[in-house]
Amino acid sequence: MPIFFNEMKRGKLALIIWSAGMAAMMAITVLIFPLIEPMMSSLGEAYMDFGFDMSSIEMDFMSYIASEFAELMTLCGAIYAGIIASSALSGEERGRTAEFLLSHPVSRTRVAAEKMFYVFNCLFIFSLSSLVLTYASVLVIGEEIEFVKMLLLFASCFAIQLEVAGICFLFSATVRANGIGFAIGFSLLMYVLQLVSTMGEKLKFLNYFTPYSMCSTAEIIENGRLDWKYCIVWPVIAIASVIFAVLYYKKKDIYC
């Protein structure tokens, strides 16, 4: 897999910065919990004022982690996923390296597959490093945590990243322009949509229009499971996006 390893070599610095930054933020969030704990009850109200549906959750360490996680990890992870996926293929054209790469005996399907695997791998390392450091920080402060629920939080966040990556990968295959603006804009828009959906019963339908609804912290903390009705639409859209991206890229004229 020379293209995958070449991408890893080129993208390792960004991966290290994003992973270390995210893991450090999550670790700090956990480590300052002993200072936050006395203010927990008012914190829950503050989150509800901000729009998070915490009504059914008793504010404890797990819910604190979940709420911070919802703010930091899902948004930052989705932005990182969008950035690397949106430049995976178009970056070769913008950087004028596509002519070099595609004049070798490799099919475009293979190029797209190895690039997508690179994106998957980066997001896996990004999520795993945050999970490991978060759990280590929990052990340091001596709090008890339900590991399965924590794992579910990280897994659902990882799924959101993959969904955003899938959409942005399609952008990368079809548009030559820099995808960073699209990636950040798309991630923020979807995030805001999810925030709005928590602000009232009539707005709950918006959950179907954003991948962030997959990581429903309230459902995970309360019932220890995902809200499956929000876990069907976006995975299908993401998979369809990747398939369409590959089909389009196979026929695309490469201008250098």
Binding site: I3, N6, T97, F100, L101, L102, S103, H104, V106, Y255
Partner: protein, 293 residues
């Protein structure tokens, strides 16, 4: 079997012209020059043949294989140097060479080392530190290390110093002697006439002429030079092109009946005149002006 065979191959970008019905044949073992100014369609033809661009119409075969169906097999047997060789800036030269080799299955270390040595390429440098010439050298190593059957070189010498240009053409000549075909796209007519046995001229996306360099240079076109013209002037006839006067001297290209030329000259008063075969450059200009008219 032809190394390159295109049949009415066309590529258009929406309403814009790329190449129009290009029919070209390059024999195996040829050292073929592909001449045309910037924007004539040289790179478009090459990129279409290599599958980077999809043809709008027509068909083409490289080494007997269809450019659409057998793209991967073709690329396995072709060494391509793009006109603007661009690589991943953060990597080292050695990384790029290894990456290129791995994409072709690997195992070309000795050949790559020999090429780097002859081209004086420092493999420890990062790509972003390379000058245009050194990037070209890196492109040459990547295009030649796997010893392909067909070399497609698009404007290969731009940025290379004369010494390395000489080394580069020596390498190409060696490979050509071993049986490989060289397709050299250039607007440098001197290197085409010096190294190529055949050449084709492209203009505005259409092929104007394709023949041996000898035949092109010794075509029916003659360069006429009249020294010390006192009276008379050539008739305004279609056989005369590229007419210019300077300091009482007159020069033009003539393609037509030589009797008519001598009759015309006998009606003029001058000190001396010469009739020579024009250089390839003049032939090139001749074809271009002819098409204009």
């Amino acid at each position: 079997m032809y190394a390159i065979e295109t049949d009415k191959l066309s590529k258009s970008y929406g309403k814009a012209r790329g190449i129009t019905e290009v029919s070209l044949k390059v024999d195996e073992g040829d050292f073929f020059g592909f001449i045309g100014p910037n924007g004539a369609g040289k790179s478009t033809l090459i990129r279409t043949m290599l599958g980077l661009l999809g043809p709008t119409a027509g068909e083409a075969k490289i080494l007997g294989m269809d450019i659409v169906r057998d793209n991967i097999k073709i690329l396995d047997n072709v060494g391509y140097l793009p006109s603007e060789a661009t690589f991943y800036g953060g990597l080292r030269v050695s990384d790029i060479i290894k990456f290129s080799a791995k994409l072709r299955g690997g195992g070309f270390d000795a050949e790559a080392a020999m090429l780097c040595d002859r081209l004086q390429l420092d493999v420890t440098k990062k790509v972003r530190q390379l000058s245009l010439g050194n990037r070209k050298k890196l492109g040459i190593v990547c295009a030649m290390q796997h010893r392909p059957k067909l070399y497609i070189m698009d404007e290969p010498t731009s940025g290379l110093d004369p010494l390395i240009q000489h080394v580069f053409f020596e390498l190409l000549k060696e490979r050509n002697k071993e049986g490989a075909t060289v397709f050299l796209s250039s607007h440098n007519l001197n290197e085409v006439s010096a190294y190529c046995n055949k050449a084709a001229i492209i203009r505005d996306g259409s092929l104007i002429v394709s023949d041996t360099v000898d035949k092109l240079s010794h075509s029916d076109v003659k360069r006429i030079f009249i020294k010390g013209l006192h009276s008379g002037k050539p008739e305004a006839i279609p056989e005369i092109r590229n007419l210019h006067t300077e300091n009482g001297n007159l020069g033009f290209l003539y393609e037509g009946d030589m009797h008519k030329l001598t009759e015309m000259l006998s009606a003029m008063d001058f000190d001396d005149f010469t009739v020579t075969n024009p250089e390839l450059e003049e032939i090139f200009m001749h074809f271009y002006e002819k098409e204009d008219k």
